[in-house]
């Protein structure tokens, strides 16, 4: 069995998974209107961490998340050559060194935590986080490493904001995934971390089970979601088949839900094709914004907190059905014992990835 645990979330909502959980159950969002943030000095809604300014923001967030994770595991595994750290990110330390966005952070993490192996960076746009958790599970399953620490991180930058503005993809209000009035994404920054291992005893608190999943390309468009949801359908189908799971075993879906018209529509079509459209579902982008390479790790950590706390969290920003196929989107928090959650992600480059977290 592959275990996943010791989850950490660093976001505008707090520095630990527990702080973040408290904010989520109170339906607090990290999104705020930031004056002068846009390309034309217009105010933009962003989910930014207070006090995270200046150089080395990416490195500092990763160090902070890893230090917090270290407290929750048998710290001796950090220095083992049977352990590797995987970093999931899109733009890394772009603002510090455009031409080498990751090396310095990897070397620094290796020195600071006395890691035996240099961290490995996976950069697959918005599916990076879910994909990297899957890579971690697969590495452990294949016996390549005993323990894999996954750290997903991206920091706010003018670069990414101006880019999404140029695509007219930035929401003029806090993003509203799946809502009828949704009109784009809200960007965020943050860092998530988890430990994936086949050894239960290395977790200080009880871990959960990771059911690793598959990725699938849409083979459709580099920046536009598929109209049929083909890649997402294939990813989820393969993930469920791999574990012999049928739709009846999925208690909850933590969707990607960026808040753009076409992405959310694509997901609705895919979940319908998968006969999963009646499952309770949320998007967490209304709380954290879209944290890109961190999103899949942060959102997987929230799935773990939902299972641990027996609570389904409301999909922030959603009010009126806004997809051609209705989904069962959470409009209020609701206590429920959850055994299996499906987590999905879709992104630029046509990527789709999914995984499942199961209570032990």
């Amino acid at each position: 069995m592959i275990y996943i645990g010791a989850e950490v979330i660093v976001s505008p909502l707090g520095d630990t998974a527990e702080d973040n959980w408290q904010a989520l159950r109170e339906n607090r969002s990290g999104i705020a209107l930031i004056p002068d943030a846009g390309f034309n000095q217009e105010a933009i809604h962003l989910s930014r961490i207070t006090g995270l300014n200046g150089p080395l923001r990416f490195q500092r967030l990763i160090t902070q998340a890893m230090a917090t994770l270290k407290e929750r595991i048998d710290a001796s595994i950090l220095v083992s050559d049977r352990t590797i750290v995987l970093i999931s990110s899109t733009k890394g330390a772009l603002d510090d060194n455009l031409h080498d966005q990751f090396s310095e952070t990897c070397v620094s993490a290796k020195e600071q935590f006395k890691l035996a192996n240099l961290p490995l960076v996976i950069s697959n746009a918005c599916i990076s986080g879910v994909l990297t958790v899957n890579v971690a599970g697969n590495m452990v399953e294949a016996g390549q490493y005993d323990h894999v620490i996954v750290v997903g991180c991206d920091v706010a930058s003018d670069f990414v904001l101006y880019g999404f503005q140029s695509l007219f993809a930035v929401s003029d209000k806090p993003c509203a995934p799946f809502d009828a009035a949704r009109n784009g994404i809200t960007l965020g920054e943050g860092c998530g971390a988890v430990l994936v291992s086949a050894t239960r005893s290395v977790f200080k608190n009880a871990p959960l089970e990771l059911l690793t999943g598959a990725s699938a390309n849409d083979a459709n468009h580099i920046s536009g979601p598929s109209r049929t949801g083909e890649g997402l359908v294939r990813s989820v189908t393969r993930t469920m088949r791999k574990h012999g799971a049928d739709a009846g075993e999925i208690d909850f879906i933590c969707a990607h839900g960026t808040g753009t018209v076409f992405n959310d529509e694509m997901e609705a079509i895919a979940f319908d094709r998968l006969a999963l459209s009646d499952k309770p579902l949320n998007s967490l982008k209304g709380y954290f914004g879209h944290t890109l390479g961190a999103a899949g790790v942060i959102e997987t950590a929230v799935c773990m907190q939902m299972i641990r706390n027996g609570m389904m969290i409301r999909s922030m920003g959603y009010r009126d059905a806004g997809t051609s196929i209705p989904l069962n989107i959470m409009v209020e928090n609701e206590p429920k014992k959850l055994r299996t959650i499906l987590k999905t992600a879709s992104g630029f480059g046509g990527g789709n990835a999914s995984l499942m977290i199961r209570d032990l």
Partner: protein
């Protein structure tokens, strides 16, 4: 056994397929090297002209590998060919051009922005070939054969039957692209660290 059935090396001034030079850069031409190669090889895919250099490199090398190995894609279902690419500098060249578009060019360019992710090249190849398989892009300090070997082991367990691997480092002053195809066959060049390292240097003059 897993064997390397075709490979392509694309460098600053020459292109090799299976170790044989198929094209050399014409330094007198005003066209970019990748455009020269596209024309010389009589490739037809107008989207090529919209792509950034990283995607052009991946497109060219993958098309040349297909050409060198006729019947390869047809031997597999559309989700059985996985792609695992890596490089050292992510999408830095296009990132820089995108920054220039808003710092000096008046406004951020959407057509550049969509290429400011290293995995876009995987999407371009998937779209062209209608491949729905597994994709992964890693950023590594240097070409590391063990990375591909490890990941191939994982892919096999997940149902992929062929692997298109790639190292695509295209910067302002250097071009180092090595794509290779790994398939199950009874004999051939074994998919090993030594062979990958050796083939990645194919045709290079030994220092």
């Amino acid at each position: 056994m897993k064997v390397i059935t075709a490979y392509c090396n694309l460098r600053a001034d020459e292109c090799l397929v299976n170790g044989e030079v198929i094209a050399r850069r014409d330094s007198s031409s005003e066209d970019s090297w990748f455009k020269q190669l596209y024309r010389q090889q009589e490739l037809v895919y107008p989207k090529f002209y919209k792509m950034d250099a990283l995607s052009q490199a991946g497109y060219l090398a993958s098309e040349l590998i297909k050409r060198a190995n006729p019947g390869f894609p047809e031997a597999y279902a559309d989700d059985e060919i996985a792609m695992v690419f890596a490089n050292a500098s992510s999408s830095a060249v296009t990132d820089r051009r995108f920054i220039q578009s808003y710092e000096h060019g008046g406004s951020p360019s959407p057509s550049l922005f969509v290429y400011t992710l290293p995995n876009i090249v995987l999407g371009e190849i998937a779209i062209l070939n209608k491949w729905y398989g597994e994709n992964l892009f890693a950023v590594l300090p240097k070409f590391t054969p063990g990375f591909y070997l490890d990941y191939n082991q994982i892919l096999l367990a997940s149902g992929s039957r062929a692997l298109l691997g790639g190292w695509l480092e295209v910067t302002a002053d250097s071009t180092d692209v090595f794509l290779f195809l790994v398939e199950e066959q009874e004999s051939g060049m074994e998919f090993s660290s030594e062979n990958l390292l050796h083939l990645s240097q194919a045709g290079s003059v030994a220092a």
